[in-house]
Point group: C2
Chain length 374, copies 2
């Protein structure tokens, strides 16, 4: 019998952040695709679109008017998923199996730039830096608000990811509770911090405890580039296709040189590195299939940001800042991976290995294909 070969033998890989498996079926890339294809992304967007509710000076669906903003504009979502605290107490459950709890908070929208036709991938490093500063401001402001326990920063990019407007923008949902996924990740980070450390010279958590993500990033950075999962590494940040990736070209982006609980803990150098990493990842994504690459991106970090503001060395400091990129495209600008059927009912399944995805992403230029043409 032939020995195990991860590029041809189906296997499962464990995500230690969630304790969940992904089924890897590398030989499946060969199957023909006869299903739905995605419509092409709009090309040649105007710099200003009079019908866009995010462009400077325009009116929004809710009726409000945007100012003629210069660079970045932040406003409360006109159709927020949560309402401001305090809210009413939830009534007692009619049966112990019917549990509910109130949820309060606020939903912010931020445009990344006044220009309608740009994306993170096409902003200057300076402008990406401005987005990072804005994220810090919102995280701090919302975190100081009474009753807020988690600030979820995310971006939904591309029509196939349900994004209703190509104007570059992201969202921030601040909530009275820590949502399921960051809560699960935090529980596993805490569990790891209490375990016997793997011998290594990886950075450690605030009290010298093992940090799962410091340890993992340190390991990946040490693997010879050609064999590994690293896509881009700079002074402070590393972008990699995690061992346990679900989406075909999923990326995990995180600082690897020291333990960093939140974006507020980043020093100026680390922020410059962060802007570079964000820029390179989004450029490579666009370059992969020469299109404006769709994804959902989320920043996971320390809950209860209010406590970090006076640099309290709280237990939550075991959180390690990281970004997940979940892009659906698999084979081309029009053929995506559907996480349906088996994936929804049983377990995520992927068709190429994380290492194969990393090879593809590494080989791409860090110059945006649209800029390379000029």
């Amino acid at each position: 019998e032939s020995p195990f070969d991860p590029t041809s033998h189906p296997h499962r890989r464990l995500n230690p952040l969630t304790n969940e498996y992904t089924l890897v079926s590398p030989h499946r890339m060969k199957r023909p695709w006869q299903g739905q294809t995605e419509p092409p992304q709009p090309a040649d967007l105007p710099q200003y679109d009079s019908k866009c509710y995010l462009c400077p000076g325009n009116q929004r669906a809710g009726g409000a008017q945007n100012p003629d903003y210069e660079q970045i504009y932040v406003f409360e979502n006109d159709y927020a998923a949560v309402l401001p605290p305090p809210g009413p107490e939830a009534p007692s459950a009619p049966h112990p199996l019917l549990k509910a709890e109130p949820a309060q908070g606020g939903c912010d929208v931020l445009t990344f730039h006044r220009r309608h036709d740009l994306t993170l991938a096409r902003l200057s490093l300076e402008d990406v830096g401005e987005v990072i500063e804005e994220w810090c401001k919102i995280y701090e402001k919302r975190g100081k608000q009474e009753g807020i326990n988690y600030v979820q920063i995310f971006e939904n990019k591309g029509a196939m990811m349900g994004c209703s407007n190509p104007h570059p923008h992201g969202q921030v949902w601040s909530l009275s509770t820590v949502p399921t996924l960051p809560a699960t990740e935090l529980a596993n980070l805490v569990k790891y911090s209490l375990s016997k450390p793997t011998p290594s010279d990886a950075p450690r958590g605030p009290k010298g405890q093992p940090c799962l993500l410091c340890e993992y990033a340190h390991f990946e950075v040490g693997v010879p580039l050609e064999e590994g999962r690293v896509v881009h590494k700079n002074e402070h940040w590393v972008a990699l296709v995690p061992w346990w990736a679900i989406w075909p070209f999923e990326i995990l982006l995180l600082p690897y040189k020291r333990h960093v609980p939140s974006i507020l803990h980043l020093n100026p150098d680390e922020k410059v590195s962060f802007a570079d990493a964000l820029s390179v990842v989004t450029k490579r994504y666009d370059n992969l299939f020469s299109c404006s690459f769709a994804y959902s991106m989320g920043i996971h970090q320390r809950p209860l940001p209010s406590l970090t503001l006076d640099i309290a060395n709280d237990d939550d400091d075991i959180a390690h800042l990281h970004l997940h990129f979940a892009p659906p495209l698999l084979r081309s600008a029009s053929i995506r991976k559907f996480l349906v059927g088996f994936e929804l009912m049983a377990e995520p399944q992927r068709d190429l290995t994380a290492e194969q995805a990393a090879v593809r992403l590494r080989a791409l230029s860090a110059t945006h294909y649209l800029d390379a043409q000029t």
Copy 2:
């Protein structure tokens, strides 16, 4: 301050099968939709399509030819996600955080009917019964196979769910390991079975232990119809929008009169009820937006089916047979709910309550809209 009103106050509900929350934002149904719409489903399909790889007598992409089958046809997926056991041992992990295990098994495809233009919703009750018999046969056959520990039966319906062929068909992936979601559910069923029972006359598990799903179904069936989440109830089965539903019109379908670990445990009467329930649910789904309603459906039941064949009263018998329906449509045949951004990065979020969805589904006719027109 106004008292808690689940139809206007955002809140979170707990899914006791997974121990995960869903954020419910009922007021959000009002927001305008400017995003991607779904292309219309193909109408007027022919009864036979010479280019369909599932129609009787046709050739498949892999080269094999289908027989001129009468009703149902089962074959191994030409691009299976797993390969037959035994497979090679996985090599030892290069780091404790990089865990992998081999996965083996087999992937079956079954057509539900020879006619290309039908769906479960349009089959006669007798024909739905044939599909159920075929599921039983596959579950038994695969379960007896050495090295198989879980048989995941599912259906992916509709192009927006990544289904590449409208010919009515489902899939069965049989695996050497219990996949993440059924394993999580089973762990929570076991945990519940060890807890102090809620006083009720709900059916109990095989050794008299509390069964989470027997208890839950019993409770829901007892709620006055107008206030509850029940969509359809017959002699043995109930279809309901679970308290913790994620998808707008998600349905949980299960037997509620006695504890039933797997489809092999169903008696003839219960199978007749099952066929009726499957038929009514899929008909109502089509009637909701007058279209062939897309969904992913999965059957969760007892792992290790080989053990049930001699009616061993194993611990795994705490599993209670149930079907999940995950349909993406939200507002019309062309406007779906996107579970992206916040949902992928933090926690599922829904825009109408389970009760509101149940009212809508209950109000629909159980006669298929295409048959009602004639």
